[in-house]
Symmetry: C2
Subunit: 330 residues, 2 copies
Amino acid sequence: MHELRKDPLLGRWVAVVSDSKSPDDYRFPTEETKETSCVLCPGREEETPPEIVAVREGDKWWTRVIPNFRPILHVEGDLGRKGLGMYDKMNSVGANEIIIDSPEHNRQPEDMGVEQVLRIIRLYRDRVADLEKDQRLRYILIFKNSGKGAGAAYSHPHSEVMATPIIPKLIKEELDGAKQYYAYKERCIFCDIMREELRVGERVIFETRDFFIFSPFAPKFPFESWIVPKRHGCAFQDITDSEMEDLSLMLFTVLKKMRRVLGDSPYNYVIHTAPNRIPRRNHWHTLGDDFHWHIEIMPRLVMMSGFEWGSDFYVLTTSPEDAAKYLREA
Amino acid sequence: MHELRKDPLLGRWVAVVSDSKSPDDYRFPTEETKETSCVLCPGREEETPPEIVAVREGDKWWTRVIPNFRPILHVEGDLGRKGLGMYDKMNSVGANEIIIDSPEHNRQPEDMGVEQVLRIIRLYRDRVADLEKDQRLRYILIFKNSGKGAGAAYSHPHSEVMATPIIPKLIKEELDGAKQYYAYKERCIFCDIMREELRVGERVIFETRDFFIFSPFAPKFPFESWIVPKRHGCAFQDITDSEMEDLSLMLFTVLKKMRRVLGDSPYNYVIHTAPNRIPRRNHWHTLGDDFHWHIEIMPRLVMMSGFEWGSDFYVLTTSPEDAAKYLREA
């Protein structure tokens, strides 16, 4: 079985697979399946792992959720936390699912209309709400890889779900950062950022009724954009029906704008929500007050070098102000 | 002028250039200079920014250090730390240099012999020792990008120096992690890791008289390898002449081994040393006791996806034990 290991210096968890790739697997990857034989396309449903849930209309499906073909995390088993000499490890318990975003291989959900984007967002919400019931799981990460340069394993439009028994390091850092700010200011940092960005204006991309999108002041990637709900809330899965409709409109619009400005460049997006098992509706100060769920969209236009990987310091070759202007005007 | 900005949530600094690239600059990059006209090759010395230092023998040079053609950080000016609304920024003060590793365009230093690797390591030491005198600079990062897939801007063998007025986030995290361990154990975590790895043996790649190289227990990249000096010390620039000779032998050997195992795959390496202005020779407990300089070598075999970028959680498709075995036996 795969295992999870903790880096003793940084406290970062990683997954180590039990069936190692050989050096040649990286140098000479096996021929990829041709576009004509995509296993995520309609007609090959029996070749995928057993479907978890789907949105159907008659005998046609609009979206499907299936377990990953080669999952890194497995639903069975206990956590099995233990030491190994001076190190720490645990079993790779969790879930690893693929959301097929569109029945059409060559058509992105946003090209199918707002309704299709809404179907996907509803599925995101349902998967988080379902998986958070599992007491062993601490975090549920929804993300999308679009394009080979963004690490996509399939060219068919899809998103992924990773439910982990630990809180990933970057999430923990965001929670800690937001908590520190709250301790100092007694206000949510995301609510403050939203107010500041609206006051200044130059990094705002646009607004809808319930959501706000902007270029962050100091992001990692050129053209990185964050979607933030106007109503304060730490958990994505608490989104209302009417907010989901509004979010579909926003995501639909920004993905179209990005394509107009950046062409078919690869991109990722990720939903950052609160960890599981957080008392969200407590009267006392809890995480619910200081964290604010959001979506980070990361166009993958530049190749990171040893500088970025060796320091976690990034060079923005397009300023957030200029990026926002291009996207606003698109 | 470019500026440095601080992410208010994570405390991470980034550099924002003043002359933004347009979206088309990413989509349709300008034709690259042909191999026959490399500006880092001998014969075109007058076209580079004025040389900082070089290793010469007669009228032939072995290595040259020049300022970056388009530096992100500039030597002139004061730090200019200031607030901007709720955000923080400062001037992009620092240094950004290119070390030309070899006079030969198509020959890596390790193919020229141990002597050439030693010339480069001496230059690394000299640049750090020189730049650390500048009181405005807090950190000096030496790194190498080899291959386009590792973010290399030139195909000519080269390394880079980035001297920054802040401590980059990843370095700060390593310092903090090592300090926490020291506070708990009263021992250096790197010294402990070295002892543990020698005891277990399965992640050891090899040893020389003064250095040790192994696959870390929970790294970011498959085949990532760390070189650690056996003598405890926090600052790379305190390396002795005899240790530099031994390090050349180690670096020469491991780069050869990596090529035998991974072919011409792109890679980065980075030297993690203590920040500047640290009282290194104090009697009381100082950073000198808990940090331990080292070199991290990162082969770039896999494309990172939204999962890694959105969570700082990594999937190792080759276990560190198997990676060490391949490299040990190469």
